[in-house]
Symmetry: C2
């Protein structure tokens, strides 16, 4: 099977709304009159963005949802996608399952695949996604204002928790009991872009970002782009992780010192790890956004309608150059948090 | 240096014409009223699309020109680009030179970089390029008609010849004398997208494609998309390679059998290799296009104005299911040619 046959068999469908689809040097597309394109590109690399054991069907869906999550965060409606597929070899069963997953997700959003390329090399998938929006309806990172409330569209930490458990399973290190539920593993492996939510938040949210790299890191992006600071209430963050330490580093260290058994010590460490997952692991693909307090009921109603267990988790304050993002405990005390968002080269 | 600092330092410049540029979840762009976007994506992988020894400055320019070559082949005017950069580690000197080359090429075409991402992994660079055109002015692959002339915008084989010499140099195998000139190596390492030519061919060319995978392969794409066949005159193909065997396989085999010395035999093999380079090696990034015979003078004038040593190298014939593309020798006899275009998985 040649590269061209592969593309023809698994990645080509009749053109629908593109002026020119797959099969030429370029595709030709235009947004509806008055609208603009929101465009984003992301690369998933085996062993870095997904485990080599991930079912290729799920990988296909994942590529689409990870990219469309950026469209959702702009309040854009997905229209077109382009795919760059780098494969170590042509394994037809793998490619067939991958393309099934890809089309399942594309069909769900009624999106056309308008081009791309395949090449040989270490497994990697790059997608460029095109969404459509009225330019003045875009949910930018830069619109948060002091006094706004901070919202998240769903539970955080579950995907990171699942990934941690999967990696520990693979490493064979049974020292700590990190057990993820099937639902958590599903949330990690098969994220869902919050596209409908993003569309509903147009005109309501003042800023928005998707949580791909961890809550604190994304909140910092919003704060920096908007020229504000952000306070997050740790108790308010929704999560599906059962046991989580919501105290700060110093308190946790004291408790650890006072622990009288290995079991107690391990439980404390695991609960601290859970906190890190909630605050700093990526792969959640929930939306983090701000809205004025007078929109509180409207936002809550939208989340309920979309069946999303989101929550108001903090507020926007005037810019504080020393603390772009602060995490507050149940007593509203500023916590000493060391964890950071994901940096590929850290 | 973090991933975000890397992007800020080397890949970010103030926004110009994009509605929203770098730094948010998506960029926001729209074509000029009445126009559409031509979009294309390509991935360059180390050791496959470029040698690990390639100067990163040239690599940066190459990424841009390889992608814009697809825009040129559609008759589109480059506007925006997005970059996905996968690096094994952050080598600041490398990144600095790469970004210098990238910006040099982007500035040459007055194109904005509107987004992208960096990640860790085996060196690979994916670009998505956005050009602009009036939708009915696009140079598609599908418009060739029987009677049209076939043109190429410049010499073929030189880039493939240079690559062959570079690979042989690296392998240390001195059996055959394959010596590329500095100009040939420059043509291989630093291709130039034929953007101005593509724009000039709007309304004149009936079909167009860029030669990234080799003449025969690209001619086959034109023939298939247009439902025609194509005859190529081997003597008419411009090339900078000095000695080239323009006879067919059978004649070449006979001559080889009759050779009386190793030197004579090697010279024959090298001349045959030269033929393969002209007909089937990629990386030329010249345009291959068709135009009606009554546009012959117009096309010649455009090539002269653009200072391109292009030539009319054949003609379009009615569809012949058995022979999408034929190569004819100096006596207009159909040649027996076995070489094929590049297939990443062959």
């Amino acid at each position: 099977m040649t590269e061209f046959e592969l593309i023809a068999r698994y990645f080509t469908r009749p053109n629908r709304s593109a002026m020119l689809g797959n099969g030429d040097d370029c595709a030709i597309v235009a947004p509806t009159t008055g609208n603009a394109f929101a465009v984003t590109t992301d690369t998933l690399i085996v062993g870095r963005h997904f485990l080599p054991t991930l079912d290729p069907f799920k990988l296909g869906r994942r590529v689409v949802n990870v990219n469309f999550s950026d469209l959702a965060a702009m309040g854009a409606s997905p229209r077109y996608a382009m795919l760059s597929l780098t494969l170590p070899q042509i394994d037809e069963e793998w490619v067939s399952r991958f393309s099934d997953g890809l089309w399942t997700a594309l069909d769900q959003y009624d999106v056309e695949l308008i081009g791309g390329n395949t090449t040989k090399g270490p497994l990697a998938i790059a997608m460029t996604a095109f969404g459509e929006l009225p330019p003045d309806g875009a949910l930018k990172r830069s619109g948060a204002r002091a006094g706004d409330e901070l919202w998240v569209s769903g539970p955080l930490g579950d995907a990171g928790w699942a990934l941690t458990s999967l990696i520990r399973d693979r490493s064979g290190d049974g020292g700590f009991a990190i057990e993820a539920t099937a639902a958590q593993i599903e949330k990690y492996e098969s994220p869902t872009a919050r596209v409908a939510l993003g569309l509903s938040l147009r005109g309501i949210a003042t800023s928005c970002i998707d949580i791909s790299d961890g809550l604190l890191s994304e909140a910092r992006h919003l704060a920096t782009a908007s020229g504000v600071s952000i306070d997050i209430d740790i108790e308010a963050i929704p999560t599906g992780i059962e046991t989580i330490d919501r105290s700060d580093q110093r308190t946790a260290a004291k408790r650890l010192n006072a622990a009288t058994s290995d079991a107690e010590r391990n439980a404390l460490i695991v609960a601290q790890l859970a906190q890190s997952c909630v605050l700093a692991t990526g792969d959640a693909y929930e939306l983090l956004f701000t809205a004025p307090p007078d929109q509180h009921e409207a936002v809550a109603a939208i989340l309920a309608r979309e069946n999303l267990p989101g929550a108001c988790i903090g507020r926007v304050t005037s810019a504080d150059a020393e603390n772009h993002v602060r995490v507050l405990d149940a007593q509203a005390r500023v916590m000493d948090i060391q964890v950071k968002g994901w940096d590929h080269f850290a």
